[in-house]
């Protein structure tokens, strides 16, 4: 066995991306995740789902968690394992996410009656990814951890 392990267990190969909290930068996270997923062998339709989920997570971090403060960072961690890709998106938590908004299932008919037609982001992430977990980041901000499985 290799001795080359840290105290945290086997070393994982993580790409860390730190982005300004400004709308538009979610595209950089999407392109990076897509590039990694492509090299891991994901099918195109799964990569499309990953891109949408990443865009929603990063957009939430920019708009809600960091309240559009471009000096605040959004941190995206991409971990490639043999059979899955883990994407974690953390903000600096100026505004914490409520439990309600991480579990709510939107209904189109109800939303059409409301002035605000949004609120689909977190639901889309849950629909498109294989595992989704909302936690608090080490920095104290909001963190969403998403896993997409590689089916061979």
């Amino acid at each position: 066995m290799s001795n080359d392990t840290s105290q945290n267990g086997p070393l994982e190969k993580v790409i860390e991306l730190r982005l300004p909290s400004k709308l538009g930068y979610e595209r950089v996270a999407m392109d990076t995740a897509s590039s990694l997923a492509k090299r891991m062998g994901f099918q195109d339709d799964r990569i499309d789902s990953l891109k949408t989920a990443v865009s929603e997570a990063v957009t939430n971090a920019i708009e809600h968690g960091n309240q559009h403060d471009s000096a605040m960072k959004v941190v995206v961690l991409l971990t490639a394992r043999d059979d899955e890709l883990i994407v974690s998106v953390a903000d600096q938590g100026r505004k914490p996410l409520s439990q309600n908004c991480t579990t709510k299932i939107p209904h189109l008919e109800e939303i059409m009656e409301q002035p605000d037609k949004g609120g689909w982001g977190i639901w889309l992430i849950r629909e498109l990814m294989d595992e989704v977990e909302f936690t608090t980041a080490p920095s104290g901000g909001n963190q969403v951890r998403m896993v997409i499985h590689l089916e061979r």
Partner: protein, 153 residues
């Protein structure tokens, strides 16, 4: 930080020292540059030089020790795109006395590798190692935005 400059945007990306990751970093930086109006006809120059610089950091600076990190910082300030590639400097960079020409390399003088820095120098507007600090080697390359030209080659 950067009080005297007009920094518009900055992005950091860090990755393990394993060949292959430079492709992901290249795509991330390309996306950043594209979204800030980087000249499309120079994107290939950016892609190639960034990959060469990352491979240098992985192979030489960090000696392919996977858990050693390479940190890439991209900055854009309307005049230029600057990219710094920082390794952990297991092996400090020592420049050859003079680079071998392709003719010499083909004649068997020197190694066939080691073309990276020459390629980068051709494709970028400025490039070179910064004064060494305790963190390791830091390679900097710059692309000007205001030049009325396409790729230099």
């Amino acid at each position: 930080m950067n009080i005297n400059t007009t920094l518009i945007a900055s992005m950091d990306i860090s990755f393990p020292s394993e060949l292959g990751y430079e492709i992901i970093v290249r795509d991330a930086v390309e996306s950043f540059a594209h979204r800030h109006g980087f000249a499309p006809e120079r994107l290939e120059d950016l892609r190639t030089s960034l990959c060469e610089a990352c491979i240098n950091a992985i192979e030489h600076g960090n000696q392919c020790v996977a858990h050693m990190r390479v940190d890439v910082r991209c900055q854009y300030d309307r005049k230029q795109f600057q990219i710094e590639i920082q390794d952990q400097g297991i092996r400090p960079f020592s420049p050859p006395e003079r680079p071998y020409s392709i003719a010499e390399k083909l004649a068997g003088v020197g190694t066939l590798r080691g073309m990276g820095l020459q390629i980068i120098a051709h494709l970028t507007d400025e490039s070179g190692f910064l004064e060494n600090d305790e963190r390791g080697n830091c390679f900097r390359m710059v692309f000007y935005c205001d030049l009325d030209r396409t790729s230099r080659y």
